[in-house]
Structures are given as C-alpha cells and as structure tokens.
C-alpha cells in the first residue's frame, strides 16, 4: 500500500523536465481508471476474509457469551426450585373453606413476596395447599390434593397434640409428615407445612418453627389473621431462612464448597524438619470428642468432612530473619502468602528457625502467632518448648502435643475466644429471654439461626480485633 502512495509523486517526473508541452498531460486523470482499479481492489479485499475463513482449521467456539449470560441471569433471577406450602387447619371447617383459605394465603404470600429477592429457595415458584382436618374423619382439601402421599394425612394429629412440649411436638410432626415430609421425588419440591391448631387460651398466639420444615400456630386466630401469620412464617423463615435482610447483596466470604455440596476441613500438622523433632497428634480422638458433635449439629445445613494428616519435611517458603530483640525469627506479614501452601495448618518450625514469630505490619509480634485467610484456611505456628532449651541431638522421640506444651500464644487465643463466647452467649440468652416473652418462641430452627448470627458476630469481632491489633 505504501508503495502506491510513494510511486505517485515520482510519476510526473519523467514528463516534467524536458518532454515539453507535448508530453505533459493536458487533461485531469479520469475516474475510469480509478474505478477499474477499485473494482479489482474491493472484490479482492472483500474476498480476503472468506479466503482466510476457508483455509483455517475449524475449531468449535467456546460459548463464552452464553456462559456470561447464564451467570448474569443467575445473578439477576436466582433459580427457584418449586416448593409447596401446606397449611393444615386442625379445626372444623365449613364447606369449601379449604379452597378459599388457599386463595387467601396465596394472595397474602404473593403480596409480601413482591420485591424480595430469594436466593436458593423457591421464591415465587410455590404452590399452596390447604387441608382442613376437622377431626373425627372430617377432611377437606383444596385443589387436587387427594391421594398425594405428600399431603397431610387427616386425623394423625389433633389440636390437643400441639400442646405438648415443643420438642416432642416437633418430633411428632416430623413422624406424622413422613420423616421430614420432604417428598422430593414427587416433583413438587420441598414441602413446608404449617399447622394451625386451636387453643383454650382466649388471647395470644404462639408460633413455633420446628426443625424439619414445619411450624405450628397455637391460638384462636381468624382466617385473615391466620393467612397473614402463615405468609409471614413462610416468607421469613422458610424462604428467607429467618433473616431480616434479604440476600440480595451477596457479599461476604464463602467457604469453598465441593461439587457435591460438601465442605472439607482439612487439618495438617507440618513438621518442618523431622530430624530435629517430630510432633504428632491424635486427631481422630479430637475429631470424635470435639468436632463430631459440632459437625453433627451442623448436618442439617452443611455436609462437613473432617480430615487430618501429619506431614514432614515441609519447610516454609518464605524467608524469616533473626531478631535479637524478640529472641526469635521474625516473619513479616507480607511474606504470609508464601508461607505454606496447605490449608489449615499447625506448623512446627525446625530447630534452625525456632522460635518462629509472626510480625504484624505495625512491627509488633503477633500474639496469636497465627493467621487466618478467609476462604482459604489458617496457619498457626507452634514453637516447641525444646526450642529455647539448647538441647543437642537428642534421640528421636515422637512427641505428642500434650498439656505441658501450653504456650502463651495459645492462652491468648483461648482468652480471646473464651471471652467472645461468653459475651455472645450472654447476649444470646438475653435475646432468647426477650423472644420468649413475646409472641414468638424459639425452637430449634430459630435457635440455630441465632447461633449462626452469634458465631458470625464472633468471627467478625475476632477479625476486627485482629485488624485492630495489627
């Protein structure tokens, strides 16, 4: 292309100097030649992409745009699997009250669910079915619920049955609803059940949210009030997990979850140099005694696996320098990303690098001698007591982490966390007292939710405190 433009100014030179007037062009260059040239050039250029296309090897394109649009769509409208709200009135019904009540509740839920973003739960994709179990064999159902095994079987529980101890009622309902009343295979999705029973008390309504996707209401409530209450329970507890704020803003840290939805907590004990000392732990016992109950309690919300290993010859990847003032090797906070590449670790440094201390950005030595990286794990450096003792090449003994190795950093962590736990427990019991005085009672689900909040608060305060000290 450049040649063309260059050639043009040179072109007139042969004519200009001495050929005289005869050789000098008398007319302006015509457009015909230009057109001819362009007519060749343009088809050529237009055909070039086709040529390139025809010679390239076919590779099926990756659907990036589809992936993007899907993730965008998921973010905008989270998928809502179907679910069903089953309301059981344990009271005598009148005529076609079941259908009317179903409409009433459905309207109420519709009204309240507007504008709320639900994540992971059924959201607007719900169905309402009402059963009026009037006892003595009287049973009226809304819609075409007859014969569905997921439906409430009339006469299993009566209104008096709801007056027992909450825990007992909870288990009883779970049994009555067919072990969890899940009915996942029937295509209706999760089934949430609310029972409305009568009570002798003239006023006051008691609502209990059970552990297994059901709740019960005790009290003499009118149909409209009942619809309001049920819609409230459904949206607040069943759909939204009992939290006031909606999960529209999905900030916060997630624990990496496996494809099967399970969470693995992997604990490693790293012996940097086993020739110096080898430490061991009996994690299996710790797991059985301490962690298993916690995991069991969390089983309804998460499938947690706990595993442990002891690794050897795992030197840290960052360089730490000796500091005379603190009498130990100091690792700056900037080196931490390269410290160790395992997940949740306890690191026993080798003799050369012992004692190993972590330094906060403000120059102070970390009291906990450990760090937590959200979504990743944490490392705690544990300096063995032989560290300070100038012992030389003792015969190798496999040592176990035992009571006499309680070190100061550990105590601090214990104090910190102990205090936090104490405070949060106090706060929680206060809240529970307040709650039980009011209209709502706290059963297992509510309690569990409370516990999450408390633990989250604890975690946040712990992080805040760490940030403050650092």
């Amino acid at each position: 292309m450049a040649e063309i433009s260059e050639s043009e100014p040179l072109n007139p030179t042969p004519d200009s100097p001495d050929s005289g007037a005869s050789s000098r062009r008398s007319t302006m260059p015509g457009t015909k030649r230009l057109m001819v040239t362009l007519s060749v050039l343009f088809p050529f250029l237009a055909g070039l992409p086709f040529l390139l296309k025809s010679t390239e090897i076919y590779r099926s394109p990756l659907p990036f745009s589809s992936i993007d649009s899907l993730s965008y769509r998921l973010l905008q409208e989270p998928p809502s699997p179907p679910c069903r709200l089953q309301v059981v009135f344990l009271r005598p019904g009148i005529g076609d009250s079941a259908d009317r009540l179903a409409r009433l509740i459905s309207d109420e839920v519709d009204k309240r669910i507007e504008g709320s973003l639900t994540c992971g739960s059924c959201g607007r994709n719900y169905a309402v079915s009402v059963t009026v179990d009037s006892g003595n064999g009287g049973c009226a159902r809304s819609g075409i619920g007859e014969g569905d095994p997921c439906f409430w079987r009339c006469g299993v529980v009566d209104s008096l049955g709801l007056r027992n101890n909450d825990e007992a009622v909870d288990e009883m309902l779970d049994a009555a609803l067919g072990k969890g009343g899940r009915c996942m295979g029937s295509g209706v999705g999760k089934v949430y059940t609310v029972l409305v029973g009568e009570s002798d008390a003239q006023e006051g309504v008691r609502i209990v949210v059970g552990k297994h996707r059901h709740a019960w209401v005790e009290g003499n409530v009118g149909e409209n009030d009942a619809a309001l209450l049920i819609a409230n329970i459904f949206i607040k507890y069943f759909v939204n997990g009992g939290r006031e704020e909606f999960v529209a803003q999905r900030k916060g840290e997630f624990v990496p979850v496996g494809l099967d939805g399970s969470v693995v907590l992997s604990f490693s004990l790293l012996n940097a140099e086993p020739n110096d000392w080898v430490y061991d732990w009996n994690f299996q016992k710790i797991d059985e005694v301490m962690l298993a109950p916690v995991v069991q309690a969390l089983a309804p919300v998460a499938n947690i696996h706990i595993e442990s290993q002891v690794l050897y010859h795992t030197p840290k990847s960052s360089i730490c320098n000796w500091d005379d003032k603190s009498g130990g090797n100091i690792c700056g906070i900037g080196d931490l990303p390269f410290f160790i590449i395992e997940v949740i670790d306890r690191y026993v440094p080798s003799r050369n690098e012992c004692p190993l201390l972590l330094q906060l950005p403000n120059g102070q030595i970390s009291k906990t001698n450990g760090f937590i990286s959200p979504m990743w794990g944490g490392v705690i450096v544990w300096n063995p007591p032989e560290c300070s003792a100038d012992s030389q090449n003792k015969p190798l003994i496999r040592r176990t982490m035992s009571p006499e190795v309680q070190s100061l950093p550990r105590m601090i962590i214990m104090d910190d966390i102990g205090k936090q736990v104490k405070y949060s427990l106090e706060a929680a019991s206060l809240a529970e007292n307040n709650a039980s005085l009011g209209i709502y009672d706290a059963s297992a689900v509510v309690r569990e939710i409370g516990r999450y909040r408390r633990e989250r608060a604890k975690y946040l305060s712990f992080m805040a405190e760490q940030a403050k000290t650092s």
Binding site: P9, T37, L45, T55, C119, Q284, Q309, R410
Partner: protein, 659 residues
C-alpha cells in the same frame, strides 16, 4: 444453598479456631493408646550388578495403614490422598506403572521376582480391581483414571475412553470380573510424574534412601520404571507399595588397577558414582531402612568356586563398606548356587559417616541371569497400509531341562493376554500356530481361549489364550492377520505419521514360580518388606515389545498447501493490481500518438528512450525545485490517496475482526 453457605462460613472459621484452641486442652491430651496397630513406613534399596556391565537399583517403599474407620480421614504417615482414593473408589487392588525403556529379559533376568513384578511395559500401565457391583465398575474406573491423572500429572485420563481399556477375565490375573486393564504405550514419563510419586513418601526425597533419586541419573538410565501398587482390604488395611527400578550404566573407572591387565573387567561402582549422592541417614519415620546388595546365583556360584563366599572382601570382588549381615537364598535346585544378599543398615550412617555401598571387581567374571522358559518376541508382518499380521514368537531357553518334571507328557503352559486397539482389526479366525516351524491344529495347542473382538470406536479387541506346548520344543509362533482401520481426522493423535502403538502383550507361565525364600537366621529377626515381596509366589511373566503400526493418515499438510497456493494467487492479483494503479494508460497512449507522427525506427526510438532516461538521472538534482513545487501541487491528491489507503486498511481490519 448460597445463603446457607454464607451463614455457615463463619461457623467454619470458628470451628477452626475452636479446634486450635482445643488441641492443647488437658482433657484431650491423653492421645496415646487406642488401636494397637500403627501406620508404618519402610524403605529399602536393592543393588545388583547385571551381567551386561550395568547395575540394577530397585527402590522399594512401603506404607501401610491398619484397618480403621478413620482410613481416608486421619493419617499420620500414610498418604491421605491414596487412602481417600482407595476409599472412594472401593479399590481392592491397583497397580500403576510409569516406564521408560524396555526390560531386557535375556540379560537382566526373566525368572526372578524382580522381573516378574517390576518389569513393566513402556509407557503407562494401569489395572485396578474393585470391590463394587459389576454395573458400577466401568463408571468407577473412569473416575479413577481422572483422579490418578490429576494426582500423577499424566494423561491417564485417556484410559477413560471405552476404546482404551479392557476387562480381562483370566488371562491377566486370577479370575476376576471386577478388574480393568489399560495401557498407554506412548506416554512419556518424566520428572513431573516422579515428583508427585515422591510426595507420597513421608520423607519425600529429603532424607533417607529416596535422597538418592537424583533426576538426571534416573532419566539417563537404560530402563526406569516407577510403580505404585495399592492393596486394600478390610482385614489388612491399606498397603501402598512404591517401587522404582532403574538400570544404570556405571562409568568405568579408568584408574581401576586390574583393568589394564584384563580386557573384560566389570566396572566398579558405588552409590555415589551412580547417583552422585550418598546415603546420609535414614528417613526418621521409617521403621526399617536398609540397602541390599545382591549377587545373582550364577555369579555367587562362580565366586564360590574361587573361594567360599563368606566375606565381603574376597578374591573376586570387594564391597566398599562392611555389610551388617548376609543372607543366602534357600534353593531347591542343588549345584546351581544360590543368590547372596549383603545387608547394610542405613540407620548406622549419618552426615559424618555416609553410606556408600559399592563394589570393586578384582577379576573379570562372566555370568548370566536366570531366564524365563521362553524368550518372547512380537513383531509385525506384511507391508502397505491395508493389512498386516501380528506374530508372537516363543523361543525356548531350555529351562525345562533344569526343571524336568514328569517324563511323559511334560508340558509347558503359557497364557497370552493381548489388547489391540479397534483400528487394528484383528481377524481372530486367522490364528495360526507353528511349533518348530510346523503348522499345528489349534485345538491341539490351545487349551482355553477368550476372544472379545473389537467394536469400531467402542471397545478394543482382547485375546486371552492358554497354550500348552510340549517341553522339548525349540520355538513356537502365533500369527494373526489384521486390517488397518480408518480414523476420522479428529481422532488422529499428534504426529500420526509416526504410527500407532499397540500395547505390549503379556505372557505368563503359570507352571513357573519365581518366588525366592531366604535363609533368615535368628539374629536377623526383622521383617523386610522387600524380601517378603520376593517370597510371594508369582508366576513368571514377560511383556512383549510395543508394536508400531503405520496407519493410513490423511494429508495433514493439505491446509498448508491450500494456504500457499492461494497466497500465490493473491500475490499475482496484488502485483497486477499495483501495476494497474501505477500505469497511466491514457497518458501513454497520448505520448504514443505524438511520437507516432514522427515514426522513427525501432532502434533509434529505444536509443532515444534510453538516452532520455540517462539524462533524467543526470539532471535529477537540478530538477528538485520543480519536483518540490509539483509535489506541493500534488499535496492534496497525495493526501486523498493516503486517506483512501487508510480507509481500505480500516475496512480490511474490520473484515478481519468480524471474520
């Protein structure tokens, strides 16, 4: 789920903190006790001079986890990843080998435990037996290949395809319908496979015997095979056996005193000269850590004849380092000698007293290794891209003379197991068997046969044959004809013109048992995992060569040719177009007309043109002012042209982008 996760998140971290908090609680510190059995780890190395002046080094590491409910969850020594693998896929037995080079059965031995269990076909070989219902096995196998692929940085996941693996029923191992077998003969084995393998050892390659695994010396070897075998059951727990077999060529020490006098002195070597490192202490986590130095039975027999072999320093050789003990093989066959093992305890060595096991030969000795009853070869016959034949030949090594059994009806059995990819379409009815060059009736020789023909793009063909030969045969051969299939262009591997590999066939001799038992006196009360491996009763096995079948390949250079041709056409187009752009046809015609009136002769015309051109060149500097003047006049024109070109460039770019 997401919101649960979020809630749950804080809990998890608290759990972590709680845990670290709790480890030191006195109540939980009573950790010892519990189950009596502990996880164990042993490391052993066997060194053996080979008859062809090479050295065999066999590293054997064994980790075991006792039966426990916590297997796969809590481990102290045993690699967690392997335990989880065994647990998740319900593996009863698994063997994975990465091999480079071919085991020389004639020179390095074909009738000893080493060749039977450690000689492997080139590339990757994987087999696994599962403890699962039959309908879940294929699915589990596929998942397993992917898991192993990730674990060992190898393309084991290619064994996922049903065209790549087979389900032998009796030809490979004992009768099992829950076993799957696959091989990748072309897989290149290198250090990226060794590193994850070493990571499974508790001491990695930081201390102990594994310290010797110096990458350059291993990958310079004539043969190296890195093996992993997993045995898992409810009663024994999980046993992980990791073995690395290397055949090295020691460099001849020029200053060896006897080398000048005798021509054929075996090279003297030591661990340091082989690996460039010395053993400086055992892995502290290993229960036993030993180095064995083995003298083959033929060699021991010859040394014995010179001087009763009792000392490590005798008239034939001298070991560099004093062995802690020596063990003799218990041999059923008298007057053939028995192999000798010198044992070195690694625990006695440290940084100051390194252990450098080696040998210095004093006299030249020639010996041979025990050979398998038949020497196996497999090769291709025929030419062209259409059809060919596979031939398996067995050449007797006259071993039966040593093991002469019943005089009448003496027979040798051989089991041949061969997997052939589907694109080599074997016609099994064309099986011909020749014994000593004469065609045999198949039913006379074949005792048992299981053939599963290949299905196109679905499953490979596999053949299991149990053959029975008379003892006194010299040679036998099997031939099978095949057609070469056509592949779709997508199915060709890179460098398809190289040819396609047919995995090694495995020939087993069930009559011959290669176990070795040793005279373990009371002072050696230890158990050696390596020696107990040698005592296992395994039949003699031989892998044949990998075959390279050239298949019809499409002209992969065709796209390149198309591009070059079209580019030539384009260049012509472009050139002519440039010509058109530059030429002023109208002007030339006008000039022609004005010149035509004068009508000079052709030669004067040419001369005048030439002279005018020369004049122009001479006057060029003078004409520069007018040129600049004209160029200033031509400025806008030039500008439009430049713009035009720019526009074209933009359009072109746009086209390319969209294209």
């Amino acid at each position: 789920m997401a919101k649960l996760r979020r809630q749950f998140n804080s809990t998890v971290f608290l759990l972590i903190i709680f845990f670290f908090n709790s480890v030191l609680r006195p109540a939980l510190a009573l950790v010892e006790g519990g189950e009596g059995l502990e996880e164990e780890f042993t490391e052993e190395l066997l060194l053996k001079p080979l008859p062809d002046r090479k050295v065999l080094a066999h590293f054997h590491f064994q980790s075991s986890a006792p039966p426990s409910v916590a297997n796969g969850r809590h481990h102290r020594l045993f690699p967690k990843a392997i335990a989880q693998l065994a647990r998740k896929f319900q593996i009863r037995e698994l063997e994975l080998s990465f091999t480079q080079g071919r085991w020389n059965y004639e020179r390095w031995g074909g009738f000893d435990p080493m060749s039977a269990s450690n000689a492997k076909p080139p590339g990757v070989e994987l087999w696994a037996a599962f403890d699962l219902p039959l309908n879940e096995i294929d699915h589990t196998w596929k998942n397993l290949t992917h898991a192993l692929s990730g674990l060992f940085c190898a393309s084991i996941n290619f064994l996922e395809s049903s065209t790549a693996y087979s389900a032998p029923s009796w030809g490979f191992h004992s009768n099992s319908s829950k076993l799957r077998y696959g091989a990748l003969p072309r897989e290149a084995v290198c250090t990226e496979n060794l590193t994850p393998w070493l990571k499974l050892l508790p001491c990695r390659d930081k201390t102990g015997i594994a310290l010797l695994l110096n990458r350059p010396s291993i990958y310079r070897s004539h043969y190296h095979s890195q093996r992993l075998r997993l045995i898992s059951s409810e009663f024994t727990g999980i046993i992980l056996e990791q073995a690395l077999t290397v055949v090295l060529q020691p460099s001849m020490r020029s200053n060896s005193p006897a080398s000048s006098g005798y021509g054929f002195l075996q090279p003297s070597w030591s661990i340091n000269s082989l690996f460039g490192k010395e053993v400086v202490g055992q892995c502290v986590l290993a229960k036993t850590s030993r180095i064995f130095f083995e003298l083959e039975k033929d060699l021991a027999f010859k040394v014995d004849k010179l001087q009763p072999l009792s000392s490590w320093n005798n008239s034939a050789f001298e070991l560099s380092g004093i062995p802690n003990s020596n063990i003799r093989e218990l041999n059923a066959v008298k007057n053939l000698g028995s192999s000798v093992l010198y044992v070195f305890e690694v625990s006695n060595s440290n940084d100051h007293i390194p252990l450098d096991v080696g040998i210095r030969w004093k006299i030249p000795l020639v010996w041979s290794c025990p050979r398998a009853p038949f020497h196996m070869n497999r090769y291709l016959m025929g030419s062209g891209n259409e059809r060919g034949s596979i031939a398996i030949s067995l050449r007797s090594t006259h071993l039966h003379e040593q093991f002469s059994k019943a005089s009448d009806g003496c027979a040798v059995h051989a089991v041949i197991f061969q997997v052939v990819p589907w694109y080599v379409k074997v016609y099994y009815h064309t099986l011909h068997i020749f014994v000593d060059g004469k065609t045999q009736i198949i039913s006379d020789v074949v005792r048992k046969m299981k053939i599963s023909p290949s299905e196109d793009k679905l499953s490979p063909g596999s053949m299991e044959l149990l053959l029975r030969f008379p003892c006194n045969i010299q040679s036998a051969a099997l031939t099978l004809d095949f057609d070469k299939g056509f592949l779709h262009i997508d199915e060709y591997p890179p460098d398809a013109n190289q040819g396609f590999d047919i995995p090694s066939a495995l020939v087993t001799f069930p009559d011959f048992n290669c176990s070795r038992s040793y005279q373990l006196d009371d002072s050696i009360h230890y158990m050696s995992t390596l020696l107990s491996k040698f005592q296992e009763e395994n039949p003699v096995q031989t892998y044949t060569e990998v075959l390279l079948v050239p298949l019809t390949t499409p002209d992969f250079s065709m796209p390149y040719n198309v591009i070059t041709f079209t580019c030539t056409v384009l260049a012509l187009y472009f050139g002519s177009m440039l010509n058109v752009l530059r030429r002023r046809a109208g002007e030339e015609e006008r000039l022609e007309r004005s010149k035509a009136s004068e009508k000079p002769g052709l030669i004067p015309l040419l001369l005048s043109k030439l002279s005018s051109k020369l004049k122009i060149k001479g006057k060029a500097p003078e004409s520069s002012p007018s040129l600049s003047a004209s160029s200033s006049i031509l400025g806008p024109k030039l500008l439009t042209k430049v713009m035009l070109v720019g526009l074209l460039a933009v359009i072109w770019n746009y086209y390319l982008k969209n294209g």
